[in-house]
């Protein structure tokens, strides 16, 4: 394969955004609408093709492109393995849906929004493809700018506060990662991930470096206690912004944990496992309890995101095949389901302009189609068997039981709590009698909303029943990841004794 397919995936949306930027805005913005849908959709097809031609039987990186970039220091290097391909596909899958949602809901400065989304897509795909730490950092941090603008320009009342909080929190976490990346360059002589996997990083530096990376990923995940930016950002962001944030941005951190924390610092990862367990458990239980108390639907789902990501970090650091695979499935499932839930909230918010749970109730009698879809996603978030959520949580718990019984018990409590807050939310919003008279003439889903929500519902059920394609893709890579991890630990402990 000489065709630079990964770079095309990264560049295509960027080219689209440049085109939209130079497009003279007409009254209906028809051209830019079609262009953005076309670009994101063809990017999705391209990513599917990539998944199709991806060789699932080898654990090495594939489709590698390696070009000189900062001469003598850093190469532009991209490539994917079984872990990253799914996130690339997820990103390319979610973005067209965001674009459709934006086109049908955003009334002002549509052009700017589309440009921001397309740039976001480029950067997010770049994050999952990059095989060089500096390139990774560039994509990882670059996403702050469009997201800041999305929250700040099209957000709700407290958008300025939320946008600032989002930006400064993530920046603060990330600058330490930059120090760590540069340190790695001088310690190991390269920032090429593939090389670093081979030569490893000196153990005496690992703990500090791990903490520096952790500070960035923990903020982005987000883990308790640095999760507080997320509810604010979610609540104030426009629907499409929330979707991007929940579905993809949060996954960058989970991906980073697998790719960098575990891959590069095995000894330190082992050392800090208890810390991650404790923070994850607190995240799962505490934020679930907080979610129970929320009056604002978006805030509730945001807190549930934190709890779900708690499962993800827990699963990753069990260092078992089941745990890590479960985490990846959980991330994908969360990407689909939380995106859908935010869209569901967006649907009724666009009609009634309130997100308070108490303003709704009895939607089932006026919006039956909406009620069905909302039900599917609620059950998905709860982790009902038959949805992807179940597969992920089940595997994570399996991995956790293998490692620590107590941790698994606590995590299981989180499963119960998630059922409590999600079903309670559903009951209050959809069931019951219509108390609020304004709700009587609320319209059911329109065409584009139906398309978006069903497109999200189908894979989350399909892969719930038949997760084989996903396992197929990630199996070999994760297996080799864990093997290298254990081998590294063995070497370390053998050296110690």
């Amino acid at each position: 394969m000489n065709f630079p397919i990964l770079s095309s995936l990264i560049l295509l949306p960027l080219i689209g955004s440049v085109f939209i930027f130079f497009n003279k805005s007409s009254e209906k913005n028809r051209a830019i609408k079609y262009v953005s849908i076309f670009i994101t959709f063809s990017n999705f097809l391209l990513s599917l093709y990539l998944w199709y031609i991806f060789d699932k039987s080898i654990s090495d990186f594939q489709f590698i492109e390696d070009r000189e970039w900062i001469s003598g220091l850093i190469n532009y290097k991209v490539g994917i393995d079984g872990i990253s391909i799914l996130f690339v596909v997820l990103t390319a899958f979610i973005t067209p849906l965001c674009v459709i949602s934006v086109i049908s809901t955003i009334k002002y400065r549509l052009k700017d929004f589309l440009i921001a989304i397309l740039i976001m897509e480029s950067l997010m795909i770049g994050v999952f493809c990059s095989l060089d730490l500096v390139v990774f950092y560039l994509f990882f941090e670059g996403g702050l700018i469009p997201m800041f603008l999305i929250i700040g320009i099209w957000g709700g009342e407290r958008r300025v506060y939320s946008a600032f909080k989002f930006f400064l929190y993530t920046l603060l976490g990330s600058v330490l990662m930059l120090v760590a990346i540069i340190s790695i360059y001088w310690i190991a002589g390269t920032t090429d991930v593939q090389e670093l996997y081979k030569i490893g990083i000196d153990q005496k530096y690992q703990n500090l470096l791990w903490l520096a990376f952790f500070s960035s990923f923990a903020v982005k995940t987000p883990m308790w206690p640095v999760h507080t930016w997320l509810p604010d950002a979610h609540v104030e962001a426009p629907t499409a912004g929330s979707v991007l944030l929940a579905a993809i941005l949060l996954k960058m951190a989970g991906y980073g944990f697998i790719r960098f924390s575990i891959g590069l610092f095995p000894v330190a990862s082992e050392y800090f496992v208890p810390l991650v367990y404790v923070l994850s458990i607190i995240a799962i239980i505490y934020t679930s309890l907080v979610a129970l108390m929320q009056d604002d639907m978006k805030k509730l789902i945001a807190y549930s995101s934190v709890a779900h990501m708690g499962f993800v970090t827990l699963g990753i650091f069990t260092m078992t095949q089941q745990g890590i695979e479960g985490s990846i499935i959980q991330m994908i499932s969360h990407g689909l389901i939380s995106a859908a839930l935010f869209l569901c909230v967006g649907v009724i918010y666009d009609r009634r302009h309130t997100r308070q749970i108490k303003d709704y109730g009895g939607l089932v009698s006026v919006m039956p189609k909406y009620a069905i879809l909302f039900m599917i996603f609620t059950l998905g978030a709860v982790g009902l068997p038959g949805t992807t959520g179940f597969v992920g949580e089940f595997l994570i718990l399996l991995g956790a039981f293998k490692k620590s019984f107590i941790v698994a018990i606590f995590a299981s409590i989180g499963v119960i709590l998630s059922a409590a807050y999600m079903l309670w939310l559903y009951r209050r919003v959809v069931f019951g009698k219509i108390v609020n008279a304004d709700l009587k003439n609320i319209v059911d889903l329109n065409k584009s909303e139906k398309i978006i929500l069903w497109t999200l519902a189908i894979p989350s059920i399909f892969y719930g029943f038949y997760p084989e394609p996903i396992f197929n893709t990630i199996d070999v890579s994760i297996n080799s990841l864990i093997q290298t991890y254990n081998a590294n630990l063995d070497i370390y402990f053998a050296g110690k004794n």
């Binding site: 700017d112 950092y137 800041f148 946008a163 400064l168 600058v175 120090v179």
Partner: protein, 471 residues
């Protein structure tokens, strides 16, 4: 005199300076001609300099004057920014009725002074260049004679600068006394042990230089002078003297006193950290954009000094990359500032930017890019500037400096974000004029585009600068 051709551009600038002065005095209403001819002069001297670009390690006047890669590169930076400054500010001068013949002539003589500073290899020559540069700047700062703030800023700058020059001279005399020479190379040969008189001399000179680049704790003049001076002079202040002073910093610290690095390294680290932190924190309360940029430049100088504190060639090179990118970002920002004009009045308050993105989307986008770049957010050029600095700093395992520096960028990000918030999130006000002259548009466009696309291929600048090897 051998090698006299190496100072062709200095000679050329001085000659055209005088002829322009004569032209301006004897011809009525010649300010426009003089202004354009000055730009032309700068352009020609840029060509001359580019011709001399490959000359390295040539000495003139018994070693008092040095032409090498450092001086060539810095001179080109000075000329390029001088050209852009003049291109972007002509309309501002006309509208504020300070479009006089003295203005370009003073600018030229200041640039000539900087040339001498940059090439100086001797304390006396360096001092002469510094004073030529500063004297022109005193007048420029108070060029808007009828304006109270402008006069105040000129006076303030003069008094404080004279004080720092005095300290600097005292330092020179101490160094001469203890080392027996004023020539940098000779000093380097003559000193072989730590002498406290010598250290004291270094400290005095560092104080003088820190004053010129407005590093904490010698920054007090900067906010007032930035705010009070005409904006066309502020942009000059923000860029050119810093390039010149930085190259003197490099030459002064690394040629004669590299063996005494233990003596001055701590000072530079302290000044660097203090500038980064103070510049970031103090800017938070600012409402005036020019004042804001003064604090921002204080903080940026802290980063440039962090590169110098390292004591390696990489450190020096990273500082030079930093100042080159800093130049672009400031140019972009101030060009935007020149566009905030409504009915012949220029606006420079934060609140005036409110809702700019709705009225002037392109201008707002340029500001957005330059501000995010100033904040050092990837993938814009400002990030790479910081990246190179920290690459050099961390190589020498100066983690404290690196972490403090990076944390201060987070604080600094806050006030840049606030400007962006005003532009993008706030409700709109009246529109500004859009009849800008072509020079301004060019300088805005060129600088913004370079900032934006720098990340695609950062190697050329790096390759150019990696030739500058001092140690």
């Amino acid at each position: 005199m051998e090698n006299i051709n190496l100072i062709t551009s200095e000679i050329f600038i001085s000659l055209s300076l005088m002829s322009l002065l004569i032209l301006g005095v004897f011809k009525n209403n010649s300010s426009s001609i003089v202004y354009n001819l000055s730009i032309f002069t700068l352009f020609l001297s840029l060509l001359i300099n580019l011709n001399l670009f490959s000359f390295n390690n040539f000495y003139l006047f018994n070693g008092a004057y040095k032409v090498d890669h450092l001086s060539n590169f810095m001179k080109v930076l000075v000329i390029v920014s001088g050209i852009f400054v003049m291109l972007s500010s002509s309309k501002y001068l006309k509208i504020n009725k300070i479009f006089k013949i003295e203005y370009p002539i003073l600018l030229l003589s200041s640039i000539l002074g900087m040339f001498i500073m940059i090439s100086s290899n001797d304390l006396m020559v360096f001092y002469l260049g510094l004073e030529l540069q500063s004297l022109a700047l005193y007048v420029l700062a108070s060029f808007k004679r009828n304006d109270q703030l402008s006069s105040e800023s000129g006076l303030k700058y003069f008094v404080l600068s004279a004080l720092s020059s005095g300290l600097l001279l005292y330092g020179c005399s101490l160094i001469y006394g203890f080392s027996g020479s004023t020539n940098f190379d000779q000093i380097s040969n003559n000193i072989n042990e730590v002498q406290y008189g010598l250290t004291l001399g270094i400290v005095f000179i560092l104080v003088g230089l820190a004053f010129k680049i407005s590093a904490v704790p010698f920054h007090m003049w900067a906010p007032d002078v930035y705010q009070g001076s005409p904006t066309s002079v502020t942009i000059f202040f923000a860029i050119l003297p810093k390039i010149a002073a930085l190259s003197v910093f490099i030459r002064f610290l690394y040629v004669p006193f590299i063996n005494l690095i233990d003596q001055w390294q701590t000072i530079i680290i302290f000044v660097s950290i203090a500038s980064m932190v103070f510049g970031a924190v103090a800017a938070i309360g600012q409402r005036n954009l020019k004042r804001l940029m003064a604090y921002s430049s204080i903080s940026h100088m802290g980063f440039a000094l962090a590169g110098l504190a390292v004591g390696t060639n990489e450190g020096i090179q990273s500082s030079i990359i930093y100042i080159s990118i800093y130049l672009l970002m400031n140019l972009a920002f101030f060009s935007c500032l020149f566009m905030l004009k409504r009915n012949d009045i220029y606006y420079e308050d934060l609140s005036d930017l409110s809702g700019l993105s709705k009225n002037h989307p392109i201008l707002a986008l340029c500001l957005l890019i330059s501000l995010f770049s100033l904040a050092g957010i990837p993938p814009l050029a400002g990030f790479f500037a910081k990246f190179y600095i920290f690459l050099a700093v961390i190589k020498e395992e100066m983690y404290f400096l690196a972490i403090v520096g990076l944390l201060s960028t987070v604080v600094a990000a806050f006030y840049y974000l606030r400007v962006i918030k005003t532009i993008y999130f706030d409700s709109q006000t009246e529109k500004f004029d859009i009849n800008h002259d072509i020079g301004l548009k060019i300088s805005l466009l060129v600088s913004t585009v370079i900032i934006l696309i720098y990340f695609i291929y950062p190697s050329p600048l790096q390759a150019l600068i990696s030739k500058i090897v001092i140690l």
